[in-house]
C-alpha cells in the first residue's frame, strides 16, 4: 500500500490548506491511521469539528466522502447491502418459460442484484474514498458488530455471494458524542482521538481562517472571552462552531472591539440555555 502522507507535518499543512487547523494530536493520529491502515475513532464534545475533520481530510486528499449517519434501528440492509428484491422478481418472471432453474438460481444472487449501501460502497469503490461513520454511539451494541468485519479486515461477507474484499483501503473516521460506552471490540480496532475545545491560540486561528472580515484583534478578544466563559460552570459550554457563529455575528454587526454590553447582547448566539446566558452575563459584568 502506498502512503498518502509524507509526514505528520505534511498532514498538518494539507489540512491547513483546506481551512482545517489541526493540532499535533489530530495530525499525528491521521498520519498514523494512514500508515497503519486503521480506522480513527474521534470522540469529543459536540461542535468541536469531529465531522469536519473527516470532510477536510477527504477534501485534502481529493477523495470521495461516503457518509453513514448512524441512528437507533440502523441495520444491515441500510448500512451494508441489500438484495434488490423487485429486480430479482422481475428477472424470475422474465424467464418464466424456460426451465433453467439452476441458471436463474445462481443468477439472481449476482452482483447485478445487489444494492450497495455506504459501507459496501466504500470498499468496492475504485477511486479513493474517505468513509465517515457519524455518531456511531447511536446504534445499539448489537449493531456495532456489523462494523467490526469491515473495520478490521476491510471486507464484507455476503452469504450468497462470498466475501468482497476492499480494492483499496479507505481512510475511516468514526465519530462519537460519547452518549454510551462503545464496545471493547470496536475500540480495540481503532485509533483513538479525543478532540477537545481548542487552546486559546488555536481557537483564534480558527476564527481568523473561518470568518472573513474579522480583524486580528477582534479574533483575539473573541477567543479570550470564549475561554473565560468555558471556565464558568455551564450546562453546555460554547463549542467551536458556536464561537465561529458568534464571530460572524459580531462582524455583521460591525463591531470591532467588544465591550461587556455588546457581549451580553449577543450571548444568545454562543449559549443555548437561558440559565447559562443569565449566568454568563452576570459573570461578565460583575466580576
Amino acid at each position: 500500500m502506498d502512503n498518502r502522507f509524507e509526514s505528520v507535518q505534511s498532514v498538518r499543512d494539507g489540512l491547513k490548506a483546506v481551512n482545517y487547523l489541526a493540532d499535533d494530536g489530530i495530525a499525528g493520529v491521521v498520519f498514523l491511521a494512514d500508515r497503519l491502515g486503521k480506522p480513527i475513532l474521534v470522540e469529543g464534545p459536540a461542535g468541536t469539528g469531529k465531522t469536519q475533520l473527516a470532510k477536510s481530510v477527504a477534501e485534502m486528499i481529493g477523495a470521495k466522502l461516503i457518509r453513514l449517519q448512524c441512528y437507533e434501528g440502523l441495520d444491515e440492509s441500510k448500512a451494508l447491502y441489500e438484495w434488490n428484491y423487485k429486480k430479482q422478481l422481475l428477472r424470475i418472471q422474465a424467464d418464466r418459460n424456460s426451465d433453467a432453474w439452476n441458471d436463474i438460481h445462481d443468477d439472481i444472487f449476482g452482483s447485478e442484484f445487489l444494492l450497495t449501501r455506504p459501507l459496501l460502497e466504500a470498499i468496492t469503490s475504485k477511486e479513493p474514498v474517505v468513509l465517515l461513520i457519524d455518531e456511531v454511539d447511536r446504534v445499539e451494541v448489537e449493531t456495532e458488530a456489523l462494523l467490526l468485519e469491515i473495520l478490521s479486515e476491510y471486507q464484507v461477507s455476503i452469504p450468497e455471494l462470498g466475501t468482497i474484499t476492499a480494492t483499496q483501503i479507505p481512510l475511516v473516521f468514526l465519530t462519537s458524542n460519547n452518549t454510551r460506552e462503545l464496545s471493547e471490540a470496536l475500540k480495540r480496532r481503532c485509533l483513538f482521538l479525543h478532540v477537545d475545545y481548542p487552546q486559546l491560540e488555536r481557537e483564534k486561528e480558527i476564527v481568523l481562517t473561518k470568518v472573513p472580515g474579522v480583524t486580528e484583534m477582534l479574533a483575539d478578544q473573541i477567543a479570550r472571552i470564549v475561554r473565560s466563559i468555558r471556565q464558568i460552570d455551564l450546562k453546555k459550554a460554547p463549542s467551536v462552531s458556536e464561537t465561529i457563529d458568534w464571530a460572524r455575528t459580531l462582524v455583521l454587526l460591525g463591531i470591532s472591539t467588544i465591550n461587556a454590553e455588546q457581549a451580553k447582547e449577543t450571548l444568545h448566539v454562543l449559549l443555548k440555555y437561558q440559565s447559562d446566558i443569565a449566568k454568563a452575563a452576570k459573570e461578565l459584568s460583575d466580576d
Partner: protein, 479 residues
C-alpha cells in the same frame, strides 16, 4: 526500547487502564512510523493506540511523564552542558529585559538574588515566554525545593516548598497592577477579567512546569518503576467518595456530566425496548373495522413500565456529605427518568429540599443551597439516624405509596443513638422498594457505631457505593 515500552504498558495496566495485547502490538507498529526525536508525536502515537477513553488520559500522561521524561535532548538532566545552554539563553533574556533597569544580567541564574528571580518570572509570565518559564521552573526547583537524593518524601512536599517560596498568588496581583499601568488608566471589568484569566492560565502552566521538573528529578533519583508506583492514582470512576481530594472531586464532577447523559440514554432505551406483550383484543377488533371486520392488523399490548417515583433520604453530615451531594446530583441529572423525585437531607434533624431543585435548572446551585439553607440540625449536629427517621415518618410517612422507591444514603454511623429501625420496616411495607447505599467499604460495616446491618434487614438491599462505577451500576438497576 522494547523493554522500556513493555515496562510502560505494564505500568499502564497497573494504573487500571485496560490495555489489550492487540493494542500493545499496535503501539509498537505505530511508533515505528514516528520519528523518535519528536516527543509530542511519540506521545500521541502511544495515546492513540493505548488510551481509548478520555477519562484515562491523565493517568496516561502521568505514566508517560515518568517513563519518558528523561529521554529527549532538551529534557536531559545531566548538569554539565545543559546549564550552559540554558544560562546562555537566560543571559540574553536578561540583557534584553533588564537593560532599562541598569541590571546587565551578570552571571548565570545561580547568582541571582530571589528578588531578581521573581522579577524575571514576572516578566516571563507577562510576556508568556514558554522557554524562559521552563528554565525558571527548573531554577526554582533547584533553589527552593531542597531536594535530597534518597529522601523518602513525596513529590507534593517539594512542590509545596517551591511554590511557597514563589508566592504565585501575590504574583497575580502584581501582574494585574502591571498590566493596568501598561494600559494607562483602569481597565473595564471585562478586560480585567480577561487579563486575569490569561495570567491565571500562564501561572497554571508554570506550576505544571515546576511539577514536571520535580517529577523528572525524582525519577532520576529513584527510577521510573518506583516513581510510577507512588504517583499511581485511581481512575476517576474508581476514586472513593469518602476520601476524594478536592482535585479528585473536581474531576469526578467533570466525569459526572457525560455519565448522566449515558445513563439517561441507556435507561430510555431500556424502557422503549420492552418485550412484545399479549394480544390486545379490543384494539385489534377496533382496527379490523377498517378492513371490513377482518383482523388484518393484530395489535399488541406493549408493557409500559411505570417510571418509578423516587424518594431520596440522605445523610449530609461531614463524613458522607460528598457522597450524598454526588448521588443527589446524579439522581437529579437523570430526573426525567423518574416520574417524581423528592429529596430529604438530615444530620440529626431532617428537611425536605425538593424545592431547591425545582426552582433552578442548575443542580450545583441547588446543592449549594442545601449546604447553606437546609434546616438539618436538631441538637448538636452529629448524625442521629433514629431521630431523623422518626421525624420523617411523622411528617411525610403518609406520602409514601406503592409506586415510590426509597433510597437511603449514609454510613449508618449513628453515634450510639437509638436506631428506630422500625421506621424503615414501616416504610418498606408501604413503598415498592427500599434500598440503602453505603459509601463505606463493606468490611467496615457494623463496626464501631455503624448499625447498617440493623437497618439493612428491613430494606430490599444494602449496596456498597464507594465510587462512581458502583453508583452508576446501582442507578441503572434502579430505573
Amino acid at each position: 526500547m522494547l523493554d522500556l515500552l513493555s515496562g510502560f504498558i505494564i505500568e499502564l495496566r497497573n494504573a487500571g487502564l485496560p490495555v489489550s495485547l492487540t493494542e500493545n502490538l499496535d503501539a509498537m507498529h505505530a511508533i515505528s512510523h514516528i520519528p523518535l526525536e519528536d516527543r509530542e508525536a511519540f506521545k500521541y502515537a502511544l495515546a492513540a493506540t493505548l488510551v481509548k477513553n478520555n477519562a484515562h488520559w491523565r493517568s496516561f500522561e502521568t505514566v508517560f511523564e515518568v517513563y519518558f521524561s528523561l529521554r529527549g535532548p532538551e529534557y536531559s538532566i545531566s548538569d554539565g552542558d545543559r546549564e550552559g545552554s540554558i544560562d546562555d539563553l537566560l543571559k540574553q533574556m536578561q540583557e534584553a529585559q533588564m537593560k532599562g533597569e541598569g541590571n546587565g544580567g551578570a552571571g548565570g541564574m545561580d547568582s541571582l538574588t530571589p528578588e531578581e528571580l521573581m522579577n524575571i518570572l514576572m516578566n516571563a509570565l507577562m510576556n508568556g515566554d514558554q522557554a524562559l518559564m521552563r528554565a525558571l521552573a527548573r531554577q526554582a526547583v533547584q533553589r527552593f525545593a531542597g531536594m535530597e537524593p534518597g529522601r523518602p518524601v513525596g513529590g507534593t512536599y517539594y512542590l509545596y516548598r517551591t511554590l511557597r517560596n514563589l508566592d504565585l498568588d501575590g504574583m497575580l496581583d502584581k501582574l494585574m497592577e502591571a498590566s493596568k499601568k501598561e494600559v494607562g488608566g483602569d481597565l473595564t471589568k471585562l478586560e480585567e477579567r480577561l487579563e486575569k484569566d490569561e495570567y491565571n492560565d500562564r501561572i497554571e502552566k508554570f506550576k505544571q512546569e515546576v511539577e514536571a521538573e520535580i517529577r523528572r528529578r525524582l525519577v532520576a533519583d529513584r527510577g521510573a518503576e518506583a516513581m510510577a508506583k507512588t504517583l499511581r492514582k485511581p481512575l476517576p470512576e474508581d476514586v472513593e467518595f469518602m476520601h476524594a481530594s478536592r482535585d479528585e472531586m473536581q474531576n469526578l464532577k467533570k466525569s459526572l456530566q457525560p455519565l448522566t447523559r449515558k445513563l439517561a440514554a441507556r435507561l430510555a432505551r431500556k424502557r422503549r425496548h420492552g418485550r412484545k406483550g399479549p394480544l390486545d383484543f379490543r384494539s385489534t377488533v377496533r382496527h379490523s373495522l377498517a378492513y371490513g371486520g377482518v383482523p388484518a392488523e393484530p395489535k399488541f399490548k406493549y408493557p409500559r413500565p411505570a417510571k418509578p417515583e423516587l424518594i431520596v433520604i440522605a445523610d449530609i453530615s461531614g463524613s458522607v456529605a460528598a457522597f450524598a451531594r454526588f448521588t443527589l446530583m446524579l439522581v437529579y441529572a437523570i430526573s426525567n427518568q423518574f416520574s417524581k423525585v423528592r429529596a430529604f437531607v438530615f444530620i440529626d434533624g431532617i428537611d425536605e429540599v425538593t424545592e431547591y431543585f425545582k426552582k433552578t435548572e442548575d443542580i450545583s446551585e441547588a446543592i449549594h443551597r442545601i449546604n447553606t439553607e437546609a434546616d438539618v440540625i436538631w441538637v448538636d449536629g452529629h448524625s442521629d439516624y433514629g431521630h431523623a427517621f422518626e421525624v420523617f415518618w411523622d411528617k411525610y410517612g403518609k406520602e409514601i405509596n406503592p409506586k415510590s422507591t426509597v433510597l437511603l444514603l449514609g454510613d449508618a454511623r449513628n453515634n450510639y443513638h437509638a436506631s428506630q429501625a422500625w421506621v424503615i420496616k414501616e416504610i418498606r411495607q408501604k413503598a415498592r422498594h427500599v434500598y440503602w447505599l453505603n459509601p463505606e467499604p463493606r468490611s467496615y460495616w457494623n463496626t464501631g457505631d455503624s448499625i447498617v446491618g440493623e437497618y439493612g434487614t428491613h430494606t430490599d438491599g444494602v449496596y456498597e457505593c464507594r465510587n462512581l462505577r458502583q453508583l452508576e451500576a446501582f442507578v441503572e438497576k434502579l430505573a
